[in-house]
């Protein structure tokens, strides 16, 4: 059967502003919201919108992502015809090359698109958190007889300079596009979701490929070029919850949005479920002296201590007298008794020793990289063991795979960075 539309999810980004969280895994594979990984939202949106053929373009540290997606079973994408396909960079007869930009990544996989031969291609970013019905956007695209439709969202004016800004008429016809303009003239930002007619996509990518001056990026090069060529571009305005959880602060806040009484972003909608591989664990248990309020807690957890304002992923153990406030604790970590954690992100399979204090003290600039670590949030990586009775300040970063022997003998002051190796290959 010929598919009307297929999706390509760009999942190769390093997400370097997430620091140690993306040191060993790609940004789309970062855990989110108590049981998900970020790419689950794009994948679930696809299947919920009736798109069952999806190519996932990977490049940066894809192991966790490949493992997570597998054959697409959780999203019902284990199909005879279509389904999910991982598209990793590959060598050609004469050339060995990586994906040099978003447009180049799609260009290099043109054979995949041609094999499916759909009428439309939707290009998505695998690192955004949102629920969106792409079939409505496709209807809009068809109604306007568009060559390309870009999904757009209104952002606060003061943040507009971080996005690709669209100039469009009230109906949505685009007449201008600026990538990250210093002085934006509009606050309508591109969400990085594009629907292309197949022939338009082919043409413009071939052209872009032969343009030596191009950075091969959709927002920076391809879209402005199409506009210059007088193509019919439309903006589809989306008004729901949408976050590019690109920084530690944004990632933290978006997770915390989920614990409010009536969250703006509702994961409980039975008509728009978000799918993910479910951990095979029993329901979670709250102990006799456990206390939980204003938090979300996933399956397989055991809570004997106190949890407030936090997001706890599956399989986490929180021992007696441990106090967790304003934290994100990822899967299968253990917080030992008597420890106190505030504003701390704890990675997967990490152990926090007993009597540890974390996220305490005055704010100080981070010594390693004050651009990435610029809030009071302390980040502790995955597979790390924090020894007993240590005090950790705020805005501290502790790498993945750190063992007790790697810790200094004294307490860790605010703004400190405990990192290992240059590439994290311990």
């Amino acid at each position: 059967m010929v598919k009307e539309i297929i999706a390509l999810i760009l999942a190769g980004g390093a997400g370097s502003r997430l620091g140690v969280l993306t040191k060993l895994i790609a940004k789309p594979a970062v855990m989110y919201g108590g049981k998900y990984r970020i790419i689950d939202f794009s994948l679930s949106n696809c299947i919920n919108s009736g798109i069952d053929t999806v190519g996932v373009l990977t490049q940066y540290r894809p192991l966790q992502l490949n493992h997570h997606i597998g054959i697409g079973k959780p999203w019902d994408m284990d199909r005879m015809n279509g389904g999910v396909t991982i598209l990793s960079p590959f060598t050609k007869q004469l050339k060995r090359e990586w994906y040099s930009g978003t447009a180049d990544a799609v260009y290099q996989n043109m054979h995949y698109i041609e094999e499916q031969n759909p009428k439309y291609v939707i290009i998505l970013s695998g690192d955004h958190v949102y629920k969106m019905n792409y079939s409505m956007m496709l209807d809009f695209h068809k109604k306007n007889n568009a060559d390309v439709t870009i999904s757009a969202i209104e952002v606060p004016v003061e943040e507009a300079h971080r996005y690709g800004i669209i100039h469009a008429t009230d109906e949505g016809k685009i007449y201008g596009f600026e990538e990250k303009p210093p002085e934006p003239k509009s606050n309508l930002a591109s969400m990085g979701v594009y629907i292309f007619n197949l022939n338009v996509l082919k043409e413009c990518l071939i052209e872009d490929h032969h343009d030596d001056k191009s950075d091969h990026d959709f927002g920076k090069n391809v879209i402005p070029k199409l506009l210059k060529d007088g193509k019919n571009l439309w903006a589809y305005t989306f008004s729901g919850y949408w976050r590019d959880v690109g920084t530690i602060q944004a990632y933290y806040e978006s997770n915390m949005d989920l614990i409010t009484r009536v969250p703006q972003f509702n994961l409980f909608d039975p008509n728009w479920k978000i799918y993910t591989p479910n951990p095979i664990k029993p329901a979670h248990y709250i102990g006799e002296n456990g206390y939980v309020s204003r938090s979300i807690i996933a399956e397989g957890c055991m809570v004997f201590g106190n949890v407030r304002n936090s997001v706890i992923f599956s399989g986490v153990t929180i021992e007696e007298n441990a106090n967790i406030e304003n934290c994100i604790i990822m899967s299968n970590s253990t917080i030992k008794h008597g420890s106190y954690l505030n504003c701390t992100i704890v990675g997967e399979k990490t152990t926090i020793g007993s009597g540890v204090n974390s996220g305490v003290g005055e704010y100080a600039d981070n010594i390693f990289n004050s651009k990435i670590y610029q809030s009071k949030i302390t980040v502790i990586g995955s597979n790390t063991i924090v020894p007993d009775n240590i005090a950790i300040g705020c805005n501290v970063v502790i790498d993945n795979h750190i063992l007790p022997g790697d810790f200094p003998l004294t307490d860790i002051p605010s703004g400190y960075a405990l990192l290992k190796g240059s590439d994290g290959n311990v």
């Binding site: 049981k35 989920l258 614990i259 095979i280 329901a283 204003r294 938090s295 807690i297 706890i312």
Partner: protein, 373 residues
């Protein structure tokens, strides 16, 4: 263990679980926050390496079929072997409804004949335990037994319920010398778990033999009658095991899950328990939530007080509601300022605001499926 296949018996009509089994086979009764009883029997087989499983069903098997599906969650959606659900059928020979569990297996002789494993493991879909059958098979082969029955000293089991089980006597070599099915006055507490290992060929001939004589029950008509003729051996299992034979045991067994060592034994020690996934988001606790000594599944939203209870997936507990010593099944809603003690709410029950429902520890109050109180 590719040399052993499995059959799970799912039981006939049983109203001892009251409203819970009124609309479903007893093996499909929800258990422990996210499971159904049969998950344990099935997962034990998977964890023991069995890859060919037949499940004869009869009484109200809709929810069971819905739960098992293609066997995907148990990794049984295989090209060869996998999961076979065997409902009763009519044919030229007029089988129709299964008259008993031996008849259920006899009606599916084709399934037994077509399989090529040397041994068959038969177990019951309504027992809660985590057991690896590898050891039992080894003993079966070592003793050169005809049939090995897994048995257990029921020291931790209320004596008054022993009469629901089969009581076994064995000699010093573990050979079974006497077998009493559901005796009024049990002589000992060494009881059969209803788990049998038998050679496939022998099972086929025993089933054919009993059908020829018009017998239908595996235990009553085959095991008890042939206790001296066949080499029956007992295999002692020392772990946690509970059959859900009546509502008291059902309630008690659920509550025992609040004990960490029971949970550890059931869900971690010998292998994981698989079940159908529902893709619910993690449970959400709002400001007013107070939860103590309870099991809470994904998809719950809690704003009330929950103590010593089990909440299944998607349960909503509204502000001011108090739930104590209760089992609340999937998608039920407990509204504002309602008080529940010793209750079992089936799926999709709604208890409206300001109600007081109270059962007794030994006689929990059961509210049937989709009832609005």
């Amino acid at each position: 263990m590719y040399n052993m296949m499995g059959i799970i018996l799912t039981g006939g009509k049983n109203n001892r679980l009251k409203e819970l089994s009124a609309e479903r086979s007893i093996s499909a009764v929800p258990f422990g926050g996210k499971y159904r009883a049969i998950d344990f029997a099935l997962s034990n087989m998977i964890n023991s390496g069995i890859r060919n499983v037949g499940i004869p069903t009869q009484y109200n098997f809709h929810s069971l079929m819905d739960h098992l599906g293609s066997g995907k969650e148990w990794d049984l959606d295989r090209k060869n072997d996998g999961l076979f659900i065997l409902p009763p059928y009519l044919s030229e020979y007029g089988t129709g409804w299964y008259k008993g569990n031996a008849d259920a297996m006899y009606s599916n002789l084709t399934f037994l004949n077509r399989s090529n494993e040397e041994f068959v493991l038969i177990n019951q879909g309504y027992a809660i335990y985590n057991m690896n059958y590898t050891d039992m098979l080894k003993q079966h082969v070592d003793k050169d037994a005809d049939i090995t029955i897994a048995c257990r000293y029921m020291k931790d089991f209320p004596r008054e319920y022993l009469c629901n089980l089969g009581i076994v006597e064995q000699d010093s070599d573990q050979r079974i010398t006497n077998l009493q099915e559901k005796p009024l006055n049990p002589k000992s507490d060494f009881a059969s778990m209803g788990v049998y290992i038998i050679k496939r060929k022998l099972l086929i001939s025993l089933l054919e033999d009993s059908a020829a004589h018009g017998y239908y029950e595996f235990v009553r008509d085959i095991l008890v009658k042939k206790v001296n003729e066949l080499r029956l051996y007992a295999y002692e299992f020392t772990g946690y095991w509970r059959p859900l034979c009546n509502i008291q045991l059902y309630y008690r067994t659920n509550m025992e899950l609040l004990n960490p060592s029971v949970r550890h034994e059931l869900f971690e020690k010998n292998g994981r328990i698989f079940t159908k996934v529902k893709d619910e988001p993690p449970a959400k606790y709002n400001d007013e939530a107070v939860v103590k000594n309870s099991i809470v599944a994904d998809g719950c939203i809690i704003e009330g007080h929950v103590e010593n209870s089990i909440l299944f997936r998607g349960v909503k507990v509204k502000r001011g509601a108090v739930i104590k010593n209760s089992i609340i099944m999937q998608d039920s809603v407990v509204c504002e300022n309602t008080f529940l003690d010793n209750c079992i709410l089936d799926k999709s029950v709604i208890i409206t605001a300001d109600k007081q429902l109270k059962g007794d520890k030994n006689w929990p109050l059961v509210v049937g499926k989709s009832v609005v109180v």
